[in-house]
């Protein structure tokens, strides 16, 4: 349990600051930009619905996955690749400790469990920021915004967002551990760089593609 909690703490609590800043601006921006779009055909009053549905179902989970994925995934891949090229993994094997069980499994579980919580947190911050943007900056009616939100965003949507977080967390951890673990000693420091870069890029692309598949299955 110890390593699991430590990795969860590193991945989860370590990402909160970054995630807060990003979701704040993404939420504000979602209000501002959809206002600019909806104004063209006079639908400003539906901002609450749009910011709620688009944000909670799609934007915030994907953003949490891409951003935290970039940070967490890069750390995971770099740590594992470093252990691999400095032969620490082989040393574990010599001591009859299974490196998969000892190194990879706790990290995989930790990130899989941490990301849904981060997604839930991002949903809350994002909706708050959208409200701030719509009411505080654009001067829309707060009551309309909240009632729209209440009517169109249910607990189910929040659940879907967190479910997406679970899948993305697992995917990010799997991809990063795979690239980190595959680094070879002869590649040296460059191997670490290649592994982290691939972990970030492959993780982001796979999360976005899988998001489309999940949304298609659930809402299509």
């Amino acid at each position: 349990m110890g390593p699991l909690l430590r990795h969860m703490y590193e991945a989860g609590v370590g990402s909160v600051g970054l995630l807060t800043i990003l979701t704040l601006f993404a939420g504000l921006n979602l209000s501002v930009q959809s206002y600019a779009t909806f104004e063209r055909f006079g639908g400003q009053d539906f901002l609450g619905m749009f910011a709620g549905v688009g944000g909670v179902r799609e934007l915030y989970p994907v953003m949490a996955a891409v951003v935290c994925g970039a940070r967490i995934g890069a750390n995971l891949a770099a740590a594992l690749a470093n252990m691999k090229i400095s032969e620490q993994v082989e040393a574990l094997e010599v001591m009859a400790i299974d490196p998969m069980r000892h190194l990879v499994a706790p990290r995989l579980w930790a990130v899989t469990l941490a990301l849904p919580i981060l997604c839930g947190y991002a949903n809350v911050v994002g909706i708050g920021a959208s409200y701030l943007g719509a009411v505080g900056q654009l001067g829309l009616d707060g009551g309309t915004f909240v009632s729209q939100l209440h009517e169109f965003v249910g607990l189910l949507d929040l659940g879907v967002g967190m479910f997406k977080g679970l899948i993305f967390g697992w995917l990010v951890a799997l991809i990063s551990c795979f690239h980190g673990y595959r680094a070879l000693k002869k590649e040296g420091a460059e191997g670490v760089g290649v592994a982290t870069n691939r972990a970030i890029v492959h993780g982001a692309v796979m999360c976005i593609l899988l998001n489309l598949v999940i949304s298609w299955v659930l809402y299509g």
């Binding site: 921006n29 063209r40 688009g54 890069a74 760089g193 982290t196 692309v205």
Partner: protein, 252 residues
């Protein structure tokens, strides 16, 4: 408090670095060949990840937007939402985030590796200004490549949105195209490309700054590459919001 001071100091240093880059880019000699070489590498390395990341966004907007628009019987209007959202917001922001993840981290890693191996100092000894030869071509290459990729992702995003709206969602093709061409103006394209130029410059600038200030060994290089990605994403989102507010204020 000390952290805040450190942050301010870093921001100031990056700004001074930016002024340096501007001054060097404005004067001769220019290493155009080096810049073109970096541009070719960036396009080759970025085109597939950027395309794969942005294309599904159009499909998701169609998928969710169709649900909402159907409630009001407005599903013919979907394409105007899709077009403006892709051209103005999602394509520029996401393409730049992916450029940061792919190109920014590799530029930072390359410059950082040169630095820790002493190659940067070696260049200086040969009286080649490392800023001029290594950093500035990278910044300009990022600045030019990102808008180009944005044009590609605009097309991909609208196409995937069309795919989910027309053949799969049952919207009339004629109505889709009509609202798309009526609502999406060249101004939307220029706004998106302009944003991409700003974001691309930020990617190149941060990658160059963190790369050339790398101290230590292989781990520091990895850290420079990671930091480039994370900080650039923050800058992209903050600048995106500021630009959106400014454009809303001007009414473009």
């Amino acid at each position: 408090m000390r952290k805040l001071l450190q942050l301010l100091e870093t921001i100031g240093a990056v700004f001074a670095f930016f002024l340096d880059v501007l001054q060097i880019a404005a004067t001769r000699p220019r290493y155009v060949g080096e810049m073109l070489r970096i541009m070719a590498v960036l396009v080759r390395r970025c085109i597939i990840p950027v395309g794969l990341a942005v294309a599904p966004i159009g499909a998701v907007i169609s998928l969710q937007g169709l649900d909402i628009f159907r409630m009001f019987g407005l599903d013919r209007m979907l394409s105007s939402l899709l077009g403006t959202a892709i051209f103005r917001e999602y394509s520029p922001a996401l393409a730049s985030v992916m450029v940061a993840a792919q190109a920014g981290s590799s530029i930072a890693a390359r410059v950082g590796t040169m630095k820790v191996r002493g190659q940067i100092d070696a260049l200086a000894v040969m009286s080649v200004d490392p800023m001029r030869y290594v950093v500035v071509p990278g910044v300009i290459a990022c600045m030019l490549v990102t808008p180009l990729l944005d044009v590609m992702t605009n097309v991909l995003g609208v196409f995937s949105g069309w795919l989910f709206a027309v053949p799969l969602g049952g919207v009339d093709h004629g109505a889709f195209m009509e609202h798309l061409t009526a609502q999406v103006t060249p101004a939307d394209l220029w706004v998106g490309m302009g944003k991409c130029m700003i974001f691309g410059t930020a990617v190149g600038l941060l990658a160059g700054y963190l790369g050339i200030n790398t101290k230590g060994g292989a781990e520091a290089v990895g850290k420079a590459a990671n930091d480039t990605v994370v900080y650039t994403i923050v800058i992209i989102l903050v600048v995106d919001y500021v630009v959106s507010m400014a454009l809303l204020g001007v009414g473009i």
